[in-house]
């Protein structure tokens, strides 16, 4: 497989510099753009596998870059946002971004997001078994086992678990989940929370210190098959 292509849209040269160093060091081909317009041209011409977009760009809003990119491309988009811009971050996810990293970030964190984005989701019809140190999810048998005992789920709970399990390491936004599981367009994020409490109780060894189903405040849930603190 050829080296994956990453387009970085970021106006700060210092940040571009270390992003290029880190990504190239991990074997990616990196193309840079300093403005949103340039970024859109790069994204169109380089056929990237991942696009990293900073939300604060000098010419057009990062949000606009995402919206316009989504008009013709399904390429995974990772957003760089600063803390204190929670609203922007959520709008970016709503506009079609797949994931985000909050500045300042460690490269390990960004790399994990890029890898999760590059890994294709486990197709819905594919039958697979996902193993974690504490439990096993068998997508084929539609069941989960914890310490040798089968864990029982209601049909909706299972839908939530399956959605998360098929996208390991990826951020599943509340909105996305509500749409997938309940088929609703409105963001009934309360549903997600109620179900997550139940699911954690059934799968997490200590629900108050969740290791596998991690909530990203204000945005969504991330399933980490190897537990918190371990990158994929």
């Amino acid at each position: 497989m050829a080296e994956p292509v990453v387009v970085v849209v970021e106006d700060e040269p210092q940040i571009r510099k270390f992003l290029r160093a880190a990504l190239a060091g991990q074997g990616y081909r990196v193309f840079e753009a300093g403005t949103g317009e340039e970024g859109l041209i790069e994204a169109a011409s380089r056929q990237p596998d991942v696009v990293i977009v900073d939300l604060g760009l000098p010419d057009i809003d990062g949000l606009q870059v995402i919206t316009r990119l989504r008009e013709w491309s399904a390429v995974p988009i990772i957003v760089l946002s600063a803390r204190g811009q929670e609203g922007d971050k959520i709008r970016a996810l709503d506009a079609g971004a797949d994931d985000y990293v909050t500045k300042p970030f460690g490269m390990d964190e960004l790399m994990a997001r890029v890898r999760a984005a590059l890994r294709h989701a486990v197709p819905a019809d594919e039958l697979a078994v996902i193993e974690t140190p504490d439990f096993t999810i068998d997508l084929a048998a539609r069941k989960a086992t914890r310490q040798g005992h089968e864990v029982r789920f209601t049909p909706t709970e299972w839908q939530v678990v399956e959605l998360l399990a098929r996208n390991p390491g990826r951020l599943i936004t509340h909105r996305h989940m509500v749409e997938e599981v309940w088929g609703l367009k409105e963001a009934k994020t309360n549903y997600v929370r109620v179900f997550m409490v139940a699911i954690r109780k059934k799968l997490e060894p200590d629900p108050a210190q969740p290791r596998y189903f991690i909530t990203e405040p204000g945005s969504g849930i991330r399933f980490l098959p190897k537990g918190v603190g371990h990158q994929l």
Binding site: G106, R193, V194, V197, A208, Q209, P210
Partner: protein, 890 residues
């Protein structure tokens, strides 16, 4: 030596006067004995001289009466265009005050100071225009004749037989910086008059011919000369006072003139004015309101008001004294105010009355002690040349008289029933009872009617021959006479008692009203609240609609929002005038009387703070000086209260500024320290690696790089907290509350701290059935992160941290406890203050806990710290649970 030095207060007053004078324009009056002496001519000549000296001279208004020599003098002088006013079809030319104020020359000429302006002008009189010019710093030349001087008005009328209605207050002449007497011997003036050189209006020719007689002119000339001499005298007195030359004048003279409802009171007031002036003493005009006076007819009361107004115009202080006896009230007041001379009119009571009841003068003289009593002849004068008080005609109410008739009929009925059994004397008693009842309930007139009717009824029904007014026994006539007198006396006494009670009540009501307002104002903070109270009270006491105008930006006045009527542009103009000139104007005053409301300046010790506008339901309700004074008292109270509120605001502003300054200083020191420390570490570590390159072993390199990363994260947390704090404080923080599970938030806080928790045992106790809690998850996560960060900073590595969540129906409580050294006793609350820092080793700007407090309070919760008995400290916060939690169905 000491005694010869000027009194400091007097000196200060002089200095103030001097200062005020310097800012104000100068007034020069060309003063003459009669028309035709050449005042206008002299004024124009003086103006030409000024112009030759390069002074900016403008002719504001000059009447040449077509005299060629006067007109010649106008040549080459700038003339301000006159204002034309349409009045009943006639076009009147008037001095253009606004034009003059806009033009702002150094010197302006305004002829005929005593002129009455056309209706609709800003001021009723031209002298008021002149005062405004001077107040705005423009020098004025003007002319006036002696017969127009208010205090000489009646003297002139007596000499010449011509009553002059256009008068100028004496105070204007006193304020004038210069008075130049234009003198022409009577023979020369008569010569000019015969030659037709004196202007005469067509309609007044006959009167003027009478006026221009040698005897008159000599008398007028003498008056003018004397008036000018008095002025020179006064100037000399000021000079002597200024230079402390001996005690020429008995110090502290003060005059009191007693005003009554008789028509000659005005004369008395003028006489008092002349006397006070002669003595250089302040004077007071007092009206004693005895119960008897309360029942005076309306025109007599109006006359009192007019006389008091006149006294005020002449520079007196006016008071209304309540009292039983005129002499007692006057003497008590005189003692109280250190009055040295009392002026009263010659008693008008007939001799027999004086012998019976005693005269006021006798009583005064008897009780006066060291106060001099001056008795001045009480000759009647034709008309009082003061603005008459307008008053609506009140239709007479006849019902009390009907009642009187009814009660007499009732008494007759009762007497009829009694008559077979009782004597005539007892029946008379029955009637007297009726008279008392009428007097008590309906006042003097009806009770007198009742007395007369009673006598008639007694005669008709009960004195033989019955059913006729004829009397058979002459002794009965005596009975009737006595009964009539007794009836009158009873009615008089009863009415007096009633009136006293009413007077006391109304005085009490006014005092109580003022007291009520002051008390309410005293217990109120904030200008809006104060004004609400003031407007309410003034509106109730004076039965008026009330507005308040406050100075806004760029020196304009803006109506306060709580006013009770709207102001159009005209009314706003009146208010602005009042504010700028610090004098009342509008309805019932001489300035802009066309306004629909009376406007009073709100003057506080530091200057005017606004304008009070009062629109009474009855437009004449505020005409009495007493009402105006009362209103001024209310205005003063309000002004003081506003100033007090302003001062309090300023004080608290200063407090806030100080506090802000203190915070800024601690922020600067704290932030600069906390920013520099990690930056120093980063710079140091990175430069070590760059300088030493390959000489460093891999482990050291890695350690250095890790410290760079850690310090970077520390910087990030600091900046984060600063931003968060700013958002909290600026109010930009908006809660996005949704139902969240606490364990979820605790979980994400723990995962955010990640590696920093390595080596720590974190115990979480969250009951499995914990309900969802409404909160902003991002912010509450920040609270948990800050609390955990705090625990990590201040407890030894490896010591455990415990997170406990509990909930009731109404609130969830989260506790973060450590096993560290705990807080110093007494500092459990201080830790939440901004920039508070524990022991110096902690690092951080002392913002973390302050942010926690801000966020928890925004959620309506509470946060506190307590030292634990087993060691360590617990931080607890609550989040209220309100509303209906979501369910999974639906």
């Amino acid at each position: 030596m000491n005694a010869a030095r000027p009194d400091p207060d007097t000196l200060l007053a002089r200095v103030k006067e001097e200062e005020a004078r310097q800012q104000r324009g100068k007034l020069k009056v060309f003063f003459g004995a009669a028309a035709g002496v050449g005042k206008t001519y002299a004024m124009l000549e003086a103006a030409r001289e000024q112009r030759a000296d390069g002074i900016d001279v403008v002719v504001g208004y000059v009447e040449t009466h077509g005299r060629p020599e006067t007109e010649a003098l106008l040549q080459g002088l700038e003339i301000l265009p006159a204002r034309t006013v349409d009045y009943h079809g006639a076009r009147l030319r008037e001095f253009d005050l606004d034009g003059a104020l806009v033009r702002r020359p150094a010197l302006i000429l305004v002829d005929e100071l005593a002129h009455t302006n056309a209706p609709g002008s800003r001021h009723a009189k031209r002298w008021q225009d002149v005062l405004e010019l001077i107040d705005s710093g423009i020098n004025v030349y003007t002319t006036v004749n002696v017969q127009h001087v208010e205090s000489l008005n009646d003297v002139v009328a007596k000499i010449t037989g011509v009553v002059v209605r256009e008068t100028v207050p004496d105070s204007i002449l006193e304020q004038a910086d210069e008075v130049e007497l234009i003198d022409l011997p009577p023979d020369d003036l008569l010569q000019r008059f015969k030659e037709g050189k004196v202007y005469m209006p067509e309609q007044a020719q006959e009167a003027l011919r009478n006026f221009f007689r040698k005897g008159n002119l000599i008398a007028l000339r003498e008056l003018a000369l004397r008036r000018t001499a008095e002025r020179v005298d006064a100037q000399m007195r000021v000079y002597m006072r200024e230079h402390a030359i001996g005690k020429v004048w008995p110090a502290g003279e003060r005059l009191l003139v007693c005003v009554s409802s008789t028509p000659d009171s005005a004369r008395l007031v003028r006489a008092a004015k002349r006397m006070a002036e002669g003595l250089g003493a302040p004077w007071i005009a007092a009206y004693v309101e005895t119960p008897a006076q309360l029942s005076l007819p309306q025109d007599a009361r109006d006359r009192v008001i007019q006389t008091l107004r006149l006294a005020e115009q002449l520079g007196a202080e006016t008071v209304t004294l309540p009292g039983q006896k005129m002499s007692e009230a006057l003497l008590a007041f005189a003692r109280d105010r250190n009055v040295t001379k009392i002026i009263v009119g010659k008693p008008g009571r007939p001799l027999w009355k004086r012998i019976l009841i005693g005269s006021i003068v006798d009583a005064l003289v008897k009780g006066s002690g060291d106060i001099d009593i001056y008795v001045i002849s009480g000759e009647r004068e034709g008309t009082a040349p003061v603005a008459p008080v307008r008053r609506q005609e009140v239709p007479i109410d006849w019902s009390p008289h009907v009642w009187a008739v009814g009660i007499v009929a009732l008494a007759t009925g009762a007497a009829w029933v009694m008559s077979p059994l009782f004597e005539l004397a007892d029946l008379i008693m029955m009637y007297l009872l009726g008279i008392v009842v009428v007097a008590m309930r309906h006042g003097r007139g009806p009770s007198l009617l009742a007395a007369v009717l009673s006598v008639a009824a007694l005669d008709f029904f009960f004195v033989p021959p019955y059913f006729t007014f004829a009397v058979s026994d002459a002794r009965h006539l005596f009975t009737f006479a006595v009964m009539l007198v007794v009836g009158f006396v009873i009615s008089g006494l009863t009415v007096r008692v009633r009136a006293q009670a009413a007077a006391a009540r109304s005085r009490e009501a006014r005092t109580a009203a003022l007291y009520a307002m002051s008390r309410e104002l005293a217990s109120t903070r904030g200008v809006d609240e104060l004004l609400t109270i003031a407007v309410r009270h003034v509106s109730e006491v004076f039965r008026s609609q009330v507005v308040v105008l406050l100075p806004g930006a760029d020196r304009g006045l803006t109506p306060w929002s709580g006013g009770q009527f709207q102001l159009d542009t005209n009314e706003q103009g009146v208010a602005r005038w009042v504010y700028e000139h610090r004098q009342p104007a509008g309805l019932g005053t001489a300035t802009l009387p066309g306004a629909s409301a009376l406007y009073l300046p709100l003057i506080a010790p530091r200057g005017p703070v606004g304008v009070l506008g009062v629109r009474p339901a009855d437009p004449h309700a505020l005409d009495a000086p007493e009402q105006l004074h009362q209103l001024e008292t209310f205005a003063n109270q309000t002004a003081l209260a506003i100033e007090r509120a302003r001062l309090a605001e300023e004080a608290s502003d200063a407090q806030i500024r100080m506090e802000t300054e203190r915070l800024r200083n601690s922020l600067l020191s704290s932030v600069s320290h906390d920013l520099r420390t990690p930056l120093a570490t980063i710079t140091g570590a990175v430069s070590t690696i760059l300088e030493n390159g390959s000489r460093l072993d891999e482990r050291t390199r890695r350690e250095l790089l890790e410290s760079v990363r850690d310090e970077g994260e520390r910087l990030n947390r600091l900046v984060q907290n600063l931003l968060e704090m700013t958002r909290l404080e600026s109010g930009a923080l908006q809660l996005r509350k949704e139902w969240h599970s606490l364990e979820e938030v605790i979980g994400s806080a723990l995962s955010r701290l990640g590696k920093r928790l390595a080596g720590r045992r974190v115990i979480t106790r969250v009951p499995p059935n914990l309900p969802l809690v409404p909160m902003d998850d991002v912010l509450v996560e920040q609270v948990l992160v800050n609390l955990l960060d705090n625990a990590l900073k201040y407890t030894p590595p490896g010591s455990p941290i415990e997170i406990i969540a509990t909930a009731t129906d109404r609130a969830a409580t989260v506790e973060v406890a450590d096993r560290g050294p705990g807080l110093p006793p007494g500092e459990e609350d201080k830790v939440f203050e901004k920039f508070y820092r524990g022991r110096a080793d902690g690092g951080g700007a002392g913002l973390g806990l302050a942010i926690c407090q801000g966020v928890v309070r925004a959620h309506g919760g509470r946060i506190w710290a307590q030292n634990l008995p087993e060691g360590g400290v617990a931080f607890l916060f609550t989040l209220p649970i309100t509303g209906t939690p979501p369910t999974t169905d639906g």
